[in-house]
């Protein structure tokens, strides 16, 4: 983990040596600096760091993702915000190559070696800038019960025939309990879906609260009774 490596630097382990051994180019230095400032900086320094992450772009994607689940909440949060900065900048008009590079790095983070929390966030990032090249890895997550709903929504948002085809294929192969979800996405994309009901208006959740007692007082629920007792006390 980047965080532990950088913290160990205080104890004499030179992370900088390990990093520079792999690469000496300016981009990697920028990434090193970004990570150091996020992990070791004050709240203000950390904030300045993640705000600047967009300019580093694709090379910072994987290292920031590795920090997202850091035990220090502020470090993880800053890493996530830095990643979003990269995504929002890469999607700007005229930044086709940068977007392609960032998308490729994000797509690599969908593998099962990544924590669920990271993959979930990455899916939503891809929903903003992902294209045809992201569709197959996203569609592959339809078999993952923890991620399939996020993957479905991501495919719904990515325009084009390929994402639509992936949703249709998923619909064919999905277990019965997930078909209504996929039907929702297909309908959003303008496809008529037969044989799968829309359950959006089906009430399912019941309350334990009872109506207020009438003057005869027969139906006060426990919450009402408790509230009344508190007031009387």
């Amino acid at each position: 983990m980047w965080a532990s490596k950088l913290r160990n630097a205080h104890a004499g382990v030179s992370v900088a040596e390990e990093m520079t051994a792999k690469s000496h180019d300016a981009q990697n230095k920028a990434v090193d600096e970004l990570l150091t400032r996020i992990v070791q900086g004050s709240d203000e320094v950390r904030t300045e760091a993640w705000l600047s992450a967009g300019e580093i772009a694709a090379p910072a994607v994987k290292p920031l993702a590795a920090l997202m689940t850091d035990k220090e909440l502020e470090v993880g949060r800053a890493a996530k915000r830095g990643l979003w900065k990269i995504v929002r900048r890469a999607g700007r008009p005229g930044a086709g190559q940068e977007k392609k590079a960032v998308t490729a790095e994000l797509t690599l983070l969908l593998g099962q070696e990544q924590p669920i929390a990271v993959r979930r966030e990455v899916l939503w990032m891809l929903s903003e800038i992902g294209g045809d090249e992201s569709v197959a890895p996203i569609a592959a997550l339809m078999s993952n019960t923890e991620l399939r709903e996020h993957a479905r929504m991501t495919l719904e948002r990515i325009p084009g025939a390929k994402s639509l085809a992936a949703l249709k294929t998923a619909m064919k192969n999905a277990p019965k309990d997930f078909k209504p979800n996929l039907a929702q996405s297909l309908r959003q994309r303008g496809v008529k879906v037969r044989g799968v009901g829309c359950v959006k208006l089906v009430p399912t959740k019941k309350t334990n609260v009872k109506p207020a007692a009438s003057k005869q007082g027969t139906s006060a629920g426990w919450l009402n009774v408790r509230t009344r007792e508190v007031r009387e006390a």
């Binding site: 705000l51 939503w124 359950v199 399912t204 334990n208 009872k210 009402n224």
Partner: protein, 444 residues
């Protein structure tokens, strides 16, 4: 009261957007008919969301009930404590629900008041229209452009009256300002500047189990699933961009409503929006503490500048934590505190008498309390079929300004807006963000 026009089962299903297996959908009564007038020609209401603002609405409705105007048939909340408190307040004869869809399934309910968190507004409003209910929905009307479009379409398709809770349009100080401006007393208004207190920072608690009284899944509703966090729930959801959108979407919805009313610009949209802001340095809350958004309108040409904190021009210097705006005309300026509620308008606007042939501006003026007036206006619209003073289309226009301001901030770039297509020009990412996929089954 005039009976609302009924709609066919086929039409309802078309509105639901799909070929649907009938037994799986909704109770047949909802499919078969629209709402009916309640006993003694009172409007029969269901209240969806009864904490915070919802509790205030319930108090208003109890007054209307006492006056013989409405029946309160149901209250709904996903928090059992809040629901129990509402039941207690409303008294006997009011059925409690956790799931708003039970209310929509009731034939006897004519209309619903929606005061849930912002991310629920559109889904519940559209569903209510589909079920034949008239709607009073809290501001901001929606959190995405696509939601707002769906709300307008549902209101028109099912011929329901949808009033948005920007109640300053029913307040006297705002009306004074509007009348003064529309009668040209400032000359041509080319700029409106706003000042507002900052978004707060905080929300440092870790995720945890939700409290037992809260149905967290239902609270999240259309939002993507996330673990419960006390810094991401009642009231404080406002400070999370994903769910609350900060001051610009909260008070901004009121302020933009007022500006658009005064400028007679309910159907005019900005042609460009450019935002910048600072970032929070700690905690979960991510709305920018300081922010400036410049909205440029064309034909006629004018600008709105939303600013946190901005330059304060208050008539009430002791209220240093509040907000307001200034209309800058060719010949004069007018300061309006808050959103035209709470404080008197400037003396010149307050004392202004409309000259013969001048512009008379409508305002419901039956009650002392402008909150009551805003609801009275809704009732009148239901009875007469006229548009309410903050019809959903106007509400969508105000919400569009909130949404585009935040979108420009998030993307860090200027957005050029095509009002006719309701799209950002030449920015695919921005256009994808005009909608947001919704979690099953809590969707439009």
């Amino acid at each position: 009261m005039k009976k609302p026009k009924q709609y066919s089962r086929r039409r309802f299903l078309a509105g639901a957007g799909a070929a649907i297996s009938i037994p799986y959908l909704v109770p047949s009564g909802v499919l078969a008919m629209a709402s009916r007038s309640g006993a003694n020609d009172r409007l029969t209401l269901g209240m969806i969301g009864v904490g915070g603002m919802g509790k205030g609405h319930l108090r208003n409705m109890i007054k209307f009930r006492e006056a013989g105007v409405v029946n309160i048939a149901a209250v709904c909340d996903v928090d059992e404590k809040r629901l129990a408190a509402a039941v207690e307040l409303a008294g006997p004869g009011v059925e409690p629900y956790r799931d708003y869809r039970y209310i929509l399934a009731r034939r006897d309910i004519d209309a619903v008041l929606i005061a849930t968190p912002d991310h629920w507004h559109a889904v519940q409003c559209v569903h209510a229209c589909e079920a034949g209910k008239h709607v009073f929905v809290e501001k901001p009307a929606s959190v995405t452009i696509e939601e707002g479009k769906a709300m307008v379409a549902a209101a028109r398709r099912y011929k329901r009256v949808v009033q948005v809770g920007s109640q300053s349009r029913s307040a006297r100080p705002a009306h004074d300002a509007c009348t003064y401006i529309r009668n040209g007393m400032l000359g041509k208004v080319r700029k409106v500047t706003c000042w507002h207190r900052l978004n707060p920072t905080g929300g440092t608690d870790p995720d945890s189990a939700p409290p037992p009284e809260l149905d967290w899944d239902m609270w999240l509703g259309p939002l993507r699933w996330r673990p419960y966090n006390s810094a991401y729930c009642h009231s404080v959801f406002r400070w999370i961009m994903e769910s609350g959108g900060g001051q610009i979407r909260d008070r901004g919805a009121h302020v933009f409503s007022l500006i658009r009313w005064c400028m007679d610009a309910d159907y005019q949209s900005p042609v460009s929006v450019e935002a910048r802001g600072t970032a929070t340095t700690k905690g979960r809350w991510d709305c920018p503490p300081e922010m400036e958004v410049v909205y440029t309108f064309s034909n006629p040409d004018w600008q709105v500048i939303w600013a946190q904190p901005g330059e304060r021009h208050s008539n009430y210097p002791d209220k240093n934590k509040d907000f307001g705006l200034v209309f800058w005309g060719d010949s004069d300026r007018l300061i309006v505190d808050r959103d035209g509620t709470g404080y008197e308008a400037a003396e010149k606007a307050r004392n202004f008498k409309v000259p013969g042939g001048g512009v008379e501006v409508y305002r419901m003026d039956k009650h002392k309390d402008y909150n009551m007036n805003h609801k009275e206006d809704w009732f009148q619209a239901i009875k007469t079929g006229k548009k309410p003073c903050m019809d959903i289309e106007a509400g969508h226009g105000a919400a569009t300004m909130c949404i585009l301001g935040n979108l420009s901030y998030l993307l860090g770039r200027k957005l050029h807006w095509d009002a006719k297509k309701q799209q950002v020009i030449g920015d695919e990412q921005a256009n994808r963000m005009l909608g947001r996929p919704q979690r099953h089954p809590y969707h439009l």
